[in-house]
Amino acid sequence: MKKTYKIDVDCANCANKMEQAAKDTAGVKNAVVNFMTLKMNVEFEEGQDAKTVMQEVRKNCKKVEDDCEIFL
């Protein structure tokens, strides 16, 4: 399952860090952050609930880049 979320982040390097953090979150198969369109495409692993996984993704992203936001 794939979903797209709007994000807000200030610098391109921070966007790369968010991408890495999202990828490392349990339940996420792959994640791509597009800094230019401010969007995050997340591909979830089978049988994962997108909502709960995204809460974790958001927490992990906040850890690497305090100044970011994912609009869930």
Partner: protein
């Protein structure tokens, strides 16, 4: 400017004013330190907080921390040595100016590019009780009737049920030639209705309509990252820690060596200062921002010219194209039959065409249609009598009372009329008027007007070899290829043979030289996917082609292929310029910093200045009109 940007601008101005004003305040010692701390905190408090949070979250190596260490270090040196706090504040100030500019420039180009791609219709008009009502296009069911007034965008794909108008398709194709539509015609979303009111029965949902598909494709394009972007991401991950460790080494090792190895004074202050300039230079933001921005701008500019590139990776591959393989029909030729020539005619060409068109006027065969098109005027059917169609041969009829025969060589033989064979390729229609041979008309699939020019331009933009694949017979294929200037031809191929041929060509070439296949998306989807890069043309409205291809040309002009390649070359040239420029300047400044020639000011240029120049350079990728 967003609220965040405005707030930052105010902070920058206040801090700058205070910093300058404090230069004229004659105080010394701790009072001076306290006074200078005010502008420093105004400009840098968020950086300090971020640096602290970074350490707490074990994400130590980020720019905020580098800036915090560098400026606190500079303040500490100033406190013990000369009381020159300006440098620390200036570093923080310029860093923030750089960040502000970056966010402003990126925001601005983000808006510019989305304006270029601004083909999203906001509403659809539905008529209820004689009144027009604006609704969200998402809510319109397929099969509903919508009304599009002059000046409005067509929101959903459909069929015109009433009215006729002229459409501006430039948002879709990049071409400004208007297109006429009338009742019964198919109409694509994203076009702008220019003259008349149109009623349209929708055939698709909004999400499935052309305009939504295109927007989706372009917006997601920069998510498919290119090799250069991946390289930069990896580079940034190694680079920042590497510079931080070298800075520590620079601060500690030389003084120790001087003290214990050579017996000179340690000069801790000098070496720590040099280490701090290292930290300021180290920020990789110029690279990390400018590379994706270049691709994004390139993709935006290309889509504005009617070339949709589905990802940064395809932009990169396209720029390395050395071999271009064409499908013939629909790509280099029009795929429709037209009168190509009239030979051995005694009477005027127009007169002969008139007789032919009139004799064939009862038929709906594509050949007779092309004769009527070539004649170009309204046909007066009352002039024709006694039409006899002889299946597989042609027709005979009385035109203005004169017997006319139009057909192939069999018909001529049957009528006992001597005819002259044609050496041209195509369908030959021999004409006999009043029992005498009157010449023949050649009807064939004709080359697109820009086909030969397109091949020349491809060669000029660095393509080594052009190949044409076709299912057509060898004689036709060779003639088309030689008149267009194609290097190599493979004819009489079945669709699956085309895949095999492309695989053969792929195996022959070198890894770095990419092979592009250009087709019209009709029954060549497997070849489009197999080639290094698949280019579909004339794909407006063809879902299969948009699906299978990596690059989609919105109209069917083959000249766009060369243009697409030039756009990608320009974009990649800018990407490489930025990579070399940014890394080059940083390395030079790092060396100068290590030997003590570069001071903090040069370090700021290496950081902020390089970033600004790289961003401005990246935006150049947007301008593709003149390519």
């Amino acid at each position: 400017m967003s609220r965040k940007q405005k707030k930052m601008l105010v902070r920058i101005l206040i801090a700058a004013a205070l910093m300058i004003a404090l230069n004229f305040v004659p105080v010394q010692g701790y009072v001076r330190f306290a006074l200078y701390l005010v502008p420093y905190l105004i400009i840098g408090y968020d950086i300090l907080i971020k640096a602290f949070k970074g350490i707490k979250n074990r994400q130590a190596f980020d720019e905020s921390l580098l800036m915090a260490i560098a400026t606190i270090g500079a303040i500490a040196i100033a406190l013990v040595e000369n009381g020159d706090y300006t440098e620390a504040i200036a570093v923080m100030l310029f860093y923030q100016v750089g960040e502000w500019f970056q966010s402003y420039a990126v925001g601005k180009s983000r808006r510019n590019i989305s304006e270029l791609m601004d083909i999203r219709p906001d509403y659809a008009n539905i008529e209820t009780d004689g009144k027009l009502e604006q609704v969200d296009p998402d809510e319109v069911e397929p099969g509903s009737e919508i009304v599009v007034q002059p000046g409005e965008k067509v929101p959903i794909d459909g069929i015109v049920t009433e009215g006729s108008s002229t459409l501006n398709t430039s948002a879709l194709t990049g071409e400004s030639i208007p297109r006429e539509v009338e009742t019964g015609d198919e109409i694509l979303s994203g076009c702008i209705n220019m003259t008349g009111v149109l009623r349209i029965r929708t055939t698709k949902e909004f999400g499935e309509s052309t305009v939504s598909k295109i927007l989706d494709l372009v917006e997601n394009a920069s998510s498919r990252k290119s090799k250069s972007e991946e390289f930069i991401t990896k580079f940034a991950r190694i680079y920042t820690p590497a510079v931080v460790y070298s800075a520590i080494a620079l601060a500690v090792l030389p003084p120790l060596v001087r003290m214990f190895g050579v017996g000179l004074p340690a000069e801790w202050g000098t070496w720590i200062y040099r280490a701090l300039t290292f930290l300021v230079i180290s920020c990789p933001c110029a690279l990390v921002i400018s590379i994706p921005l270049s691709f994004f701008a390139g993709i935006g500019g290309a889509s504005n010219a009617g070339v949709l590139i589905k990802g940064s990776n395809y932009m990169e591959t396209l720029s390395q194209t050395k071999y271009v393989v064409f499908d013939k029909t629909g790509t280099l030729t029009k795929g429709v039959f037209e009168v190509n020539a009239v030979h051995h005619n005694e009477m005027a060409r127009e007169k002969l065409l008139e007789y032919a068109a009139l004799a064939e006027s009862a038929s709906s065969h594509p050949i007779s249609k092309s004769l009527q098109r070539a004649y170009g005027k309204e046909l007066d059917r009352s002039r024709v009598k006694d039409i006899k169609e002889i299946s597989g041969n042609g027709v005979t009829a009385l035109v203005d009372g004169i017997p006319v025969a139009a057909g192939n060589d069999k018909l001529m033989k049957k009528l006992g009329i001597e005819y002259i064979d044609c050496h041209h390729v195509g369908t030959i229609i021999h004409m006999a008027i009043d029992g005498k041979y009157a010449g023949h008309i050649v009807i064939s699939d004709i080359e697109k007007p820009h086909a030969a020019e397109a091949v020349r331009e491809l060669k000029a933009s660095g393509v080594v070899k052009t190949v044409m694949l076709t299912g057509d017979i060898d004689r036709v294929a060779r003639q088309v290829a030689s008149s267009i200037g194609i290097d190599q031809v493979y004819s009489e191929l079945l669709p699956e043979d085309k895949v095999a041929k492309v695989e053969e060509l792929l195996a022959e070439k070198k890894e770095k030289e990419k092979l592009a296949f250009v087709g019209d998306g009709i029954n060549d989807a497997p070849v489009l996917t197999r080639a290094d890069i698949g280019i579909a043309m004339g794909a407006m409205g063809s879902d299969a082609a948009i699906e299978a291809a990596d690059v989609v040309l919105m109209d069917d002009d083959p000249l766009k292929i060369a243009k697409a390649i030039r756009i990608s070359r320009k974009c990649l040239r800018i990407v490489y310029e930025n990579i070399w420029f940014a890394i080059g300047i940083k390395v030079i400044c790092l060396i100068l910093g290590a030997v003590g020639i570069a001071n903090m000011w040069l370090a700021i240029f290496a950081d902020v200045g390089v970033m600004i120049i790289a961003v401005l350079n990246a935006i150049r990728a947007l301008f593709v009109k003149k390519l």
